[in-house]
Symmetry: C2
Subunit: 434 residues, 2 copies
Amino acid sequence: MENRTYTADAAPGETATVAGWVHELRDLGGIAFLILRDTTGKIQIKFEKDEMDDDLVETGLNVARESVISVTGDVDEEPRAPTGVEITPDSVEVVAEADTELPLDPSGKVDAELSTRLDNRTLDLRKEEVQAIFTIRAEIQHAAREQFRELECTEINTPKIVATGTEGGTELFPITYFGEEAFMNQSPQLFKQLIAGSNVERVFEIGPIFRAEEHNTPRHLNEATSIDFEGAFCDHHEAMDVAEAVVTAAYEAVAENCEDELDALGLAEEFEVPTGDFPRLSYEEAIERINATGELDEQLLWGDDLPTEGEVALGEDVGEHYFITDWPSEIKPFYIMDQDDDEQLSTGFDLMHPRMELVSGGQREHRYDHLIEGFEQQGLDPEAFDYYTKMFKYGMPPHAGFGLGGERLVMTLLGLDNIREGVLFPRDRQRLSP
Amino acid sequence: MENRTYTADAAPGETATVAGWVHELRDLGGIAFLILRDTTGKIQIKFEKDEMDDDLVETGLNVARESVISVTGDVDEEPRAPTGVEITPDSVEVVAEADTELPLDPSGKVDAELSTRLDNRTLDLRKEEVQAIFTIRAEIQHAAREQFRELECTEINTPKIVATGTEGGTELFPITYFGEEAFMNQSPQLFKQLIAGSNVERVFEIGPIFRAEEHNTPRHLNEATSIDFEGAFCDHHEAMDVAEAVVTAAYEAVAENCEDELDALGLAEEFEVPTGDFPRLSYEEAIERINATGELDEQLLWGDDLPTEGEVALGEDVGEHYFITDWPSEIKPFYIMDQDDDEQLSTGFDLMHPRMELVSGGQREHRYDHLIEGFEQQGLDPEAFDYYTKMFKYGMPPHAGFGLGGERLVMTLLGLDNIREGVLFPRDRQRLSP
């Protein structure tokens, strides 16, 4: 819109045209106030009934809440106004009238269920604190990208329609692709490895992944955003350093650039940037510490996967981000390399937030013979993955990498209860629309 | 890898460890040269047979091309070496031996068909000029993101699994979603509009789109990257300004940051950054100019869509990026708004590169009644899109936006013959793997 001024930029002494939604109307008799809201904030519009044109007053005070209006008038200082300024209107135009019945109240005075909010995201996102989540989400992705670029990584885009799944165990969504069977990709794992084996060497991708898992929990999604890294000539220690740097950079960027948003979410006081030097616990130490908490009914034994309650108990015990390293090889995927000096131990690692797992990574098996063996042990037919395995015969450097759950990073950074709070249009077993 | 030095950073007078692929071996009798290649370039390794340990010479000169090796030794100036420096090795380690038979030759001395290259992307990407394409592709995306951020846009991620297609006519890939019918999304169109109608106001997304079109041409893909913009309180003129800014920013960033890559592609001399002030032709003017070229067998009439040959003829005539505006409403999608003063004309626009269409955009229909009418005229059931249309009853501001074909931008910027050259793992009717 030509000549539009954002409410945050309306300066006393100027004549300005602001446009946005009718947030609130307060009619005090001889005087009335309309609060107009736009992407930058809110501003007070003053109607002095006796001193103004009747049509103007009529238009301004009869418009339904959440209608879109455009107002032109003089901006003045007014200490009693919510933002310290107000506009005395010369003209008010109703641009888009809203129904008087709204499925949810963007002023936030009436609480709404999450499902109602997700069904009406346009209205939901008119709340300052919901808008703040997505401003911060964008900032996190930007910070991750900048950190990867600083670490000499090239951004890539790998295909989401694939002929074979990446990981045997996890469920795939089937697609019909011109009469052929295909799937939506669970992870860029195999593709990013294929690129790391070329001159590109160090790559990252931020993109959607699709998992047909039947989970229905506050921390699982069927369509999610994965932040992936893969680096040639890297080992798992270097991959851990990269994961640490990316997570820390996200916190730093939010602390630095999203003060207003943290404030809108009531987090300005408590928000802490991690030290960037996360403790590294071995799997063995992790199960010992979990067992010592006494939170589990049964003691964990070496080789057990960590149950959710175990992760939670350990997270409370550690109290900050931490790595779990030296996992038993048998509970890590086939493409994770075993350790040189003890093949019972893998190079796999997880980066944990005290609440949940954020990152899974490791050094990859780059030796052709070992890789083929791994496929067979996993019960997968290596022939079906020939497009991938054959490249390991042509000079595949050692490489390592990780996948970081984009929504889990948002969820833990902001302390959201439900991962769906951090997704515009989440997909789960029950939700396919909008 | 600890202590690894990139070949580009190996400085005369130092002892360095470099690691990479065996690019070439030249055995001149008493002396032999191995060219080692990594992500930053190449370096010469000198073997003086009489003055070196036999094992070292043996290892260095018998390793197959494209094997991965690591070399430690003194770096010296050597004007006759390709990069002006060479390493005299103290040790050579073969990290990953390559087969002696390669499906394609990364040194580029033997040409390969595109399909062989795509089947063996890892090897293909070891060519400097292929690596250059993807470095530039990443730079283009980065430049687009930075330009959008400068224009106060928030990056969003919209779902790729959807219950209904965005545009009636275009074909959809069906998915089975927990027993329900769903589709892979053709375009973030409806979702980005839903966000533009909230406080977020101005959004962009760079993500995959999926089109089950049976096209099989050098400029169509079935999975592509769409660069999308949508802005509340914008009209089509402002959306055109944004498209112009993003395309120009991409060229500027490549000119500024990718000199070596342009050089590798033989484009350093001819690469030109557009002026950023693209001519705006009306549709009527466009068909007149096409007709005047005499390139078409039949003259175009008002209301005809532009055939490919027509676009090419006009592109040659105009000779730079240009917009086509004032399209007939009947050949633009239902969500594009008609012009205020003439409803036969739409607010839709295309941004054209002389070779092909890059961008399609326009002001959107934000008036609920008109929108419902549009669905019906398009033969779509508005009820199926209730999740979208109902938000237009709650104060939907005027808004405009566009979709820019990410791969077409790469293709036209670099003058690639085939759009697949600019995609790591393209998807088309014949290609689903790797």
